[in-house]
């Protein structure tokens, strides 16, 4: 651990990595809370995996893979959102199809682009140690957009994810708000790809928020708690992986997974303990 702190003072790439993890945590805490509460984890997974198609196409045509990912994420989110809205019976099948076909298209493009096999691994599993200052600025901008949307539409989004029928009766633009939520998921996926890669995104999008949900009673507090937990997991995962030279993305996810398991057990025990205490007091 002290070796990590020493290195952190010395190497800019490590400072960038730490900052990248902190920036990604904001998005994952805020949007992850919506994903967990609205139970759209599978949908978010579909968006996350299909972005490989966009990244592969961008590589093949010589563009910036992260912008390719952004375009693909937005497209996939809108497609899935419209299907979920107007063709509900087929939504599971369609998410699975977009999930797999997006990845397949990405693999095809990458196989036709010479010399990019190592990059494929970093897209799939992340490579936070390679994050550039330019990408950090992009991440900060995405955070700004996400926080701006939530600041403006917090009450309307809460109403829509809580009781869609009632929101409709209050004349809210329910479909537009749902699509807005999915767009936020798309932006967050892109934000997290650098850190943990597109396969592991879904864990960072759900685990911190789910843990925060064990101990908070309002969405606002859940978002704050999930952001703090995300920062804790990315920083500690990075520190733990540094010494033994483990893949940082995978280490972060394992840390988050263990924390979730512990929290699930603790919150369960707490609930039972409280229930017993109430019963004894009567």
């Amino acid at each position: 651990m002290s070796a990590f702190l020493h290195a952190l003072g010395q190497y800019p790439f490590l400072q960038h990595a730490l900052l990248g993890g902190l920036l990604a945590s904001v998005g994952c805490g805020v949007v992850g809370s919506y994903v967990v509460v609205r139970r759209i984890g599978f949908l978010a997974g579909g968006v996350a995996h299909s972005v490989l198609g966009g990244m592969g196409a961008a590589l093949y045509y010589g563009g910036d893979p992260l912008l390719g990912a952004l375009a693909a994420a937005v497209l996939a989110a809108l497609a899935i959102g419209l299907v979920a809205r107007y063709w509900r019976e087929q939504v599971d099948t369609l998410i699975a199809a977009i999930w797999a076909v997006g990845m397949a298209v990405g693999i095809l493009f990458i196989s036709r682009t010479p010399g990019y096999d190592t990059e494929l691994m970093s897209y799939l599993f992340g490579n936070i140690l390679m994050v550039t200052p330019g990408e950090l600025w992009l991440m900060a901008a995405l955070d700004g957009v996400l926080l701006g949307i939530v600041a403006l539409y917090y009450k309307a989004l809460l109403a829509v994810i809580f009781d869609e029928e009632f929101a409709t009766l209050r004349n809210l633009p329910v479909t537009a708000l749902f699509l807005l939520l999915l767009l936020m998921v798309a932006l967050t996926v892109v934000l997290l790809i650098q850190v943990v890669g597109l396969i592991l995104v879904i864990a960072l999008l759900t685990l911190p928020a789910a843990i925060a949900g064990h101990y908070t009673h309002t969405l606002r507090h859940m978002m704050l708690g999930a952001t703090a937990l995300g920062m804790l997991f990315t920083s500690s995962g990075l520190a733990l992986s540094y010494g033994p030279d483990l893949p940082s993305g995978a280490t972060i996810i394992v840390v988050a997974g263990l924390a979730y398991l512990a929290s699930a057990l603790i919150s369960r025990a707490l609930r039972q303990w409280r229930a017993r205490r109430v019963a004894v007091e009567r």
Partner: protein
């Protein structure tokens, strides 16, 4: 002569299978307290959804507060039958009631001071003010129904529509809620769906009996043979169908 709160003229509705509403005509006067009764799958919830503009009838005309149902929504408060939400949903009682202000307040940014004042007032009126900070999923059935009525009142409605507001709560709480509705009726029109014709007859002025077709009776004229004719069997058999 004021505009009727609700006016249905020869309304037909089907979900694609059998006819659910058959040539239904109904005029609900401004200020009335109307009960809607009928067997399960008799079309009660469908009738409400037509009034709320959530469903469009294939034939016939619907006017609510003199306007098309969707245009009238702003002035209509709605209390659903079963609100399904996960018990750990992170929303407080106060936040739930505040959502009733949507459509009356700005879409962007936080709720205004006026929204909060109105939410506080309707929570006090429904006697849930001391629950304001509680997580919604921790409430009892009776408390939840009061909160949902408060949410509907936060819309400042001229017409309040309730779909079986007391289906899952005990008799004592049911009486309390209907006493509150009786007070609310002094300032707004109320339409309440119920399966318990005997109970609501003590509160409502008229009863609309719906079993695909609709017949309206003054509560003074409700008797055993009428109930039997409506339900097609003894009424107690119907009551027990509700889980």
């Amino acid at each position: 002569m004021s505009t009727p709160a609700v006016e249905l003229r020869h309304v037909w509705f089907s979900y694609g299978g059998p006819v659910v509403l058959e040539d239904v005509s109904l005029t609900v006067r401004d200020g009335e307290f109307l009960g809607v009764v009928g067997p399960n799958a008799g079309g009660k919830s469908t009738l409400l959804k037509v009034m709320l503009g959530l469903l469009r009838p294939q034939r016939g005309e619907v006017r609510v507060l003199g306007r098309a149902p969707v245009a009238a929504r702003r002035a209509v408060g709605y209390v659903p039958q079963h609100l399904r939400f996960p018990p750990d949903f992170p929303i407080s009682v106060q936040e739930t009631v505040l959502t009733g202000r949507l459509g009356r307040t700005r879409l962007i940014g936080p709720y205004t001071r006026r929204d909060r004042d109105i939410a506080r007032r309707v929570m006090a009126e429904m006697e849930v003010a001391d629950l304001a900070a509680r997580q919604l999923g921790t409430l009892s059935g009776g408390q939840l129904q009061r909160v949902l009525v408060a949410r509907a009142l936060a819309c400042e409605p001229r017409l309040l529509i309730l779909d079986e507001p007391t289906a899952n709560i005990d008799m004592r709480v049911e009486t309390e809620i209907f006493e509150l509705l009786r007070q609310l009726n002094r300032r707004m029109t109320i339409i309440v769906v119920s399966h318990d014709i005997a109970f609501i007859s003590a509160y409502v002025g008229r009863v609309a009996c719906l079993n695909r077709t609709l017949a309206v009776h003054d509560t003074a004229h409700i008797d055993g043979p009428l109930i039997d004719a409506l339900y097609g069997s003894h009424v107690h058999a119907v009551e027990h169908e509700h889980p």
